[in-house]
C-alpha cells in the first residue's frame, strides 16, 4: 500500500551532505577532486548560446522577400557587427536606396527567402556556477558537474521562496529586528510568523535569508507581489530567501528545529527556498557546514510509524499539535466525515488521546 503518513522533514545536527553543481550546457570545471572549496567559490564555467535575433528585413525596409535575397550584403555563417549593412535595396533608377543594418554583434545564422528574414545569433554568454556549500570536491563529471561534500547540520523547511543564498545565521529572540546589529547578508531565524512590515524592514536591512516558523499567506503575497498558486518555487526574484518550517498561518517553529538553529547561531549557512511538492519532492533547506559532531539525528525515527513515535498533526482540528503514537488499529475506521480511513490514536501533549487518519500525521 502507499505510505499512509508523511515521513516528516529532516532536522539533523550532523550529516554528510552532497550537492551536485551542474552546468546547464557543457563547459569547464575550475576545481579538482579533493580540493576544499568555499560556498562562494566558482567551481564551473560555461557559455550559453547567444540569442538568435530574427530581423524582419523585408517588412522593415518595405521590400519583397525575394528582394532581400537580391540585396544581401552578408552570407550565412558570416560574423557581423552592430551597424553593419545586412541588406541593401536600390530602387527605381538608383534613386531610392534603403539599407538594413545589424542591430547586434554576432553571426548570421539564418536567411529565409520566403519571409525575407535574417537571423543573427549574438555572442555566447558566460555563466559561472558557485559551490553553494563549503566543503570538499568528491566527484567531477568532466565538463558537466562537480559534487561537493560537507559534514553539516541539515534542516528542511516545508515551504520557501527564493533561491540559493549564503549568510551568517542570526537567531532572533522575538519578532522584532534587532537594533544596532549588522544585518547585511545575514540569515535571520525567527520562531513565529513575520509581519509584512518586518519583511520590508528586513529587506531594507539587506538580509539574505529569513527562516521562520510560518507565514500568513497575505503577508507572503505582499512580499512576492502575487499569490502563490502552485508550490513550485525557487526562481522568484526576491530580495532575500524566505523559508518556513511549519506552514501557513501563525504557527511557531518546532522546538527541535529552533533549538538546532540556535545552536549554530553566528555560523555560515547555505539556504535554498526551492520547493516542489509534486512527485520528486524538493523541500527548502538550511545547510550549516562544519558541524563536527557525530551523526546525531534529531530527525524522525527510521522505524516509521510505531507505538511511541513522536508525531505532529497536520490537519484541523488538531493542526500544529504534537503527540505520541498511542495505538495503531489495523482495520480502517469511519471518521467524522463519513469516510473510511486507516487511523491511529495519538496522545497529545495535553494528555488527551485523539483518533486521526494516518495521512494526517508526520513523524517528528
Amino acid at each position: 500500500m502507499a505510505q499512509a503518513f508523511t515521513p516528516g522533514l529532516a532536522c539533523r545536527i550532523s550529516d554528510v551532505i552532497r550537492r551536485v553543481r551542474e552546468l546547464p550546457v557543457p563547459g569547464e570545471l575550475t576545481v579538482q577532486v579533493g580540493q576544499e572549496v568555499q560556498a562562494h567559490q566558482v567551481v564551473a564555467r560555461a557559455f550559453l548560446p547567444g540569442e538568435l535575433h530574427i530581423q524582419r528585413v523585408a517588412e522593415k525596409i518595405g521590400i519583397e522577400p525575394h528582394e532581400v535575397i537580391a540585396g544581401l550584403k552578408v552570407q550565412a555563417g558570416q560574423a557581423v557587427t552592430v551597424g553593419q549593412v545586412l541588406c541593401e535595396h536600390v530602387g527605381l533608377f538608383g534613386l531610392f536606396r534603403s539599407q538594413f543594418k545589424s542591430p547586434v554583434d554576432g553571426v548570421v545564422e539564418l536567411i529565409t527567402a520566403s519571409s525575407g528574414h535574417i537571423g543573427v545569433r549574438s555572442a555566447a554568454k558566460p555563466i559561472a556556477i558557485e559551490a553553494y556549500v563549503s566543503g570538499r570536491v568528491v566527484e567531477v563529471s568532466e565538463g558537466k558537474s562537480v559534487t561537493i561534500e560537507t559534514r553539516a547540520a541539515f534542516v528542511q523547511g516545508i515551504f520557501g521562496v527564493g533561491g540559493e543564498r549564503v549568510g551568517k545565521l542570526l537567531v532572533l529572540d522575538g519578532d522584532k529586528l534587532p537594533q544596532g546589529t549588522q544585518l547585511r547578508g545575514a540569515v535571520l531565524v525567527m520562531r513565529g510568523a513575520p509581519s509584512a512590515s518586518f519583511l520590508v524592514a528586513a529587506k531594507e536591512a539587506g538580509i539574505c535569508g529569513l527562516v521562520a516558523g510560518s507565514v500568513d499567506d497575505q503577508v507572503l503575497a505582499s512580499y512576492l507581489g502575487y499569490d502563490v498558486g502552485i508550490a513550485l518555487t525557487g526562481d522568484e526574484d526576491v530580495p532575500f530567501t524566505l523559508i518556513v518550517s511549519e506552514g501557513f498561518g501563525a504557527l511557531e517553529m518546532s522546538e527541535r528545529v529552533y533549538a538546532l538553529l540556535k545552536k549554530f547561531n553566528g555560523q555560515s549557512a547555505s539556504i535554498n527556498g526551492a520547493t516542489q511538492v509534486r512527485a520528486g519532492a524538493v523541500r527548502p533547506e538550511i545547510v550549516i557546514p562544519g558541524s563536527m559532531q557525530d551523526s546525531m539525528a534529531v530527525e524522525p525515527s527510521a522505524a516509521g510509524l510505531v507505538l511511541g513515535a513522536q508525531v505532529r498533526l497536520i490537519r484541523v482540528p488538531f493542526f500544529g499539535q504534537y503527540g505520541q503514537v498511542h495505538e495503531l488499529p489495523h482495520e480502517a475506521q469511519r471518521i467524522d466525515t463519513g469516510a473510511l480511513a486507516r487511523v491511529l490514536r495519538v496522545k497529545l501533549s495535553s494528555g488527551e488521546v485523539v483518533t486521526v487518519p494516518r495521512a494526517n500525521v508526520e513523524l517528528v
Binding site: M1, A2, Q3, T6, P49, E51, L52, H53, I54, P65, L110, T112, S114, S115, H117, G119, I158, F159, D216, D217, Q218, D227, V228, G229, I230, A231, G247, F248, G249, T275, V277, R278, A279, G280, I314, R315, V316, P317, F319, R334, I335, D336, T337, G338, A339, A341, V356, P357, A359, N360, E362
Partner: protein, 608 residues
C-alpha cells in the same frame, strides 16, 4: 500473451499514474466480464528506484493477495515478462497484460500555429485529444512580442512540439515565421541531453520543405497531413497518430523502466487521458448520448466531452486544466476562483484568512485528508470551483466549425473568427461522469452529485454518474483489444448511477411552481423556484420520466415543451433543483452561510 478477444479470460491492466500505480484484474465470470481485484502501490519513476516496473510489480503482488490468484512467476529473470500464463480454467496466471501511463508528468507538448482561433486551436485539440498537457500555444497573433515568445518557449522542456499553420495552398510566410521562432527558442527535449526534439509539422503542405529545412538544425521533423487543410475543415487524425507514435518511441522508451514495461505487453501503452477519452467516446456512441466527463485529480482536471455538431455528428473534445486540482494545485484554484467564490458554498462562517491558510497548508501537505465535516465541505467547495473553471476552459476550446464557405484574402485571416461555435450545450447534456477521489470517494453519493450539479451549473435533465474506482483508463486500453468486454465492465463495475438532476431554466422573475415531475405515470413532485429537493425512488428501476414545465420554463425540450425520457433510477433518485442558472446568492455575503446551512440540512448533507 493472447490478444484474440474470444480467447481471453483473465486480463491484468495497470495505470501508472504520477503518484500511484493502480492494477486491476478483469475476468470472464459466469456473470460475464467483471473487475475482480485491485491493487496499488506508489509509482517508482523517481530516484532512488527510477524503474516504473518496481511499482507495477508491487501493485501486482497486492492483486495476488486480494484475489488469491497467482499472477507472477516465482523467478522471472531472463524472461520476456514476469507473468504466469494462464491455463484453460486454471486458477493462476493471466492471458494478457495492458497498461496506460501518465507518470512523470504525462505527455508534455508545445503547440504552434498562425491564427490563435484557427490553426493553433486545431493544434491544441489534436494534442489534447492525444492525451497531452499543452505547456504553451504559440500563435503569430497571440499578442506577445517575438522575444517574449522565444523566452517562454526556451525555458520549456516539451516532449514533442506540434507545429501547424496555414491552409493547404495558402500563404507560407506566417507558418515559416513561427518555425523561425521555434528555431530561435530552440527548446530542449525533456528526456536525454543527446536527443533531438521531435517536431510534428501538420501545417500548410506547401511550406513543409522550408519548415523542415529551418527546424532540422535543432529538431527531428516529421511531416503529417495538415490539421486545417481548409478554413472549414479540421483533420486531427494524422497529427494525433504521430503524437501517439512519438509518445511510445520517444517519451515512453526514455522514461525509467518503460523499456521493460513496453516488453511485457503486446499492445502499446496509451497515455492515461487518451484511454479515458476513448472510453468516454465509446459510451457516447454506443448509447447515442451527449456526455461530459471530468477527472479531477490532485494537480490537474481533465474534461472530456462528446456533443453533436451542426451536422449531428458526435464530436469528441478533451481539455486539461493543468493547475486546477485538489491537492498540489488546490491553492491555484483559490487564486483563480477567489476566496469569496470558494467560501460561498460553505454552510458555516469562516474568515477569508482561515480559508486561505487551510488551503495553502493542504498545498504543502497534499496527502492529508479532511477529518472534520467542515474541512470536507471546504474541499468540496474547492471542487465545485475547479469544475466551474475547468468547464469554462473546456467550453472555450470545444468548438465546432460551421460548414459555410467564406472567401477570405490573407489580409482577412487574422480577423476571422466567425466560423466557430461552441459545442458544449448543458441543456442537452445527457450524462455527466465524475472521476477523481473527491467525487468517486465522497462519503455521500449525493454530495458528489451536488458538486457536479453546482460546479458545472447543470441545466435540464442530466444523468449523474461517477467512476467507482477510477477504472476508465484501464477500460479504455482494454477496449482496444476486447471492446465488448470493456463495455460490460464499464456498465457493471465502473459507472455508478448516482441519480438524475432536473434543473429548469426560467425568466429572472420566475416564481412558484416551475414544473411537475412524473415517473411511470405517477406524479412525484413539483419543482419550486429557488428550492432544491431529492425524490428517492427504487434504485435500479426503469421507467418513463416526464417533466411538464409551466409557461416558458425550459426543462430540456425547449421553452414550455414537455420533456420525456426512459431512465434507470440512480442511487439518489431524482434531484430537483429549482435554482435558476447561473446560480446567484441572495442578500449580503454574511447571510450566505446560513442559506447554505439550510440547504445542506434539507438534503441531509449536514451529517456524515
Amino acid at each position: 500473451m493472447e490478444t484474440e478477444a474470444s480467447k481471453l479470460r483473465t486480463v491484468l491492466v495497470t495505470d501508472c499514474g504520477s503518484t500511484t500505480t493502480k492494477a486491476l484484474l478483469f475476468q470472464k465470470t459466469q456473470d460475464g466480464w467483471r473487475q475482480t481485484a485491485r491493487g496499488e502501490a506508489p509509482t517508482t519513476v523517481e530516484e532512488p528506484v527510477a524503474d516504473v516496473t518496481v511499482g507495477a510489480l508491487n501493485a501486482f503482488s497486492e492483486v495476488e493477495e486480494v484475489s488469491g490468484r497467482r499472477i507472477l512467476r516465482p523467478r522471472s529473470a531472463g524472461m520476456a515478462h514476469p507473468f504466469l500464463e494462464s491455463e484453460q480454467n486454471g486458477s493462476h496466471g493471466i492471458d494478457l497484460y495492458l497498461s496506460t501511463s501518465s507518470a512523470g508528468g504525462g505527455l508534455q507538448m508545445v503547440v504552434g500555429g498562425v491564427v490563435k482561433e484557427m490553426t493553433t486551436e486545431s493544434a491544441e485539440r489534436a494534442a489534447l485529444g492525444a492525451g497531452a498537457i499543452v505547456l504553451d500555444a504559440l500563435s503569430a497573433d497571440d499578442g506577445r512580442e517575438d522575444h517574449e515568445r522565444i523566452d517562454r518557449v526556451r525555458h520549456l522542456k516539451p516532449d514533442i512540439v506540434l507545429l501547424t499553420g496555414g491552409v493547404d495552398g495558402g500563404s507560407k510566410q506566417h507558418v515559416i515565421e513561427v518555425a523561425e521562432l521555434l528555431l530561435a527558442a530552440a527548446p530542449r527535449p525533456r528526456f536525454g541531453d543527446t536527443l533531438r526534439l521531435p517536431v510534428i509539422y501538420a501545417g500548410n503542405r506547401d511550406a513543409a520543405g522550408e519548415v523542415s529545412e529551418i527546424l532540422e538544425r535543432v529538431a527531428d521533423v516529421q511531416v503529417v497531413g495538415n490539421v486545417r487543410p481548409t478554413l472549414e475543415t479540421e483533420n486531427l487524425g494524422p497529427a494525433r497518430e504521430a503524437i501517439h507514435e512519438l509518445f511510445l518511441t520517444h517519451v515512453m522508451s526514455h522514461s525509467p523502466g518503460y523499456g521493460k514495461l513496453l516488453g511485457w505487453s503486446p499492445k502499446p501503452i496509451l497515455p492515461t487521458p487518451a484511454a479515458v477519452g476513448d472510453m468516454t467516446l465509446r459510451h457516447a456512441k454506443r448509447n447515442n448520448v451527449q456526455v461530459l466527463c471530468a477527472d479531477i485529480g490532485g494537480a490537474t482536471t481533465d474534461v472530456f466531452s462528446v456533443f453533436r455538431d451542426q451536422e449531428d455528428e458526435l464530436i469528441f473534445n478533451r481539455t486539461v486544466s493543468a493547475n486546477l486540482g485538489m491537492s498540489y494545485s488546490v491553492a491555484n484554484v483559490l487564486v483563480e476562483a477567489g476566496v469569496e467564490n470558494i467560501a460561498r458554498w460553505l454552510p458555516y462562517q469562516v474568515s477569508d484568512a482561515e480559508v486561505r491558510d487551510r488551503l495553502r497548508n493542504k498545498m504543502i501537505r497534499p496527502t492529508s485528508i479532511p477529518q472534520t465535516l467542515e474541512d470536507l465541505w471546504l474541499e468540496q467547495a474547492v471542487c465545485r470551483e475547479a469544475l466551474r473553471l475547468s468547464l469554462a476552459h473546456h467550453r472555450s476550446l470545444a468548438v465546432g466549425l460551421s460548414g459555410q464557405r467564406r472567401v477570405r484574402g490573407i489580409a482577412d485571416i487574422f480577423a476571422q473568427r466567425s466560423n466557430r461555435y461552441e459545442l458544449v450545450d448543458l441543456m442537452h447534456l445527457d450524462v455527466v461522469i465524475g472521476s477523481g477521489g473527491v467525487l468517486s470517494h465522497a462519503p455521500q453519493r449525493l454530495s458528489a452529485a451536488m458538486m457536479m450539479i453546482e460546479g458545472f451549473g447543470l441545466q435540464g435533465v442530466t444523468q449523474i454518474t461517477v467512476d467507482s474506482i477510477f477504472m476508465m483508463p484501464h477500460l479504455g486500453v482494454f477496449s482496444s483489444v476486447h471492446p465488448q468486454a470493456a463495455d460490460e465492465i464499464f456498465i457493471n463495475d465502473c459507472l455508478v448511477n448516482v441519480g438524475h438532476a432536473i434543473v429548469p431554466v426560467y425568466a429572472e422573475d420566475g416564481r412558484g411552481e416551475l414544473a411537475r415531475v412524473t415517473f411511470e405515470g405517477k406524479e412525484l413532485a413539483s419543482i419550486e423556484a429557488g428550492a432544491v429537493q431529492v425524490v428517492e425512488l427504487c434504485a435500479g428501476s426503469r421507467g418513463r420520466l416526464i417533466v411538464e414545465p409551466r409557461g416558458r420554463v425550459n426543462v430540456g425540450a425547449g421553452p414550455g415543451q414537455v420533456y420525456e425520457r426512459d431512465i434507470e433510477v440512480g442511487k439518489c433518485g431524482l434531484i430537483l433543483d429549482g435554482r435558476n442558472r447561473p446560480l446567484r446568492w441572495q442578500g449580503p455575503r454574511v447571510a450566505w452561510p446560513e442559506q447554505q446551512r439550510v440547504l445542506y440540512r434539507q438534503l441531509g448533507l449536514d451529517q456524515a
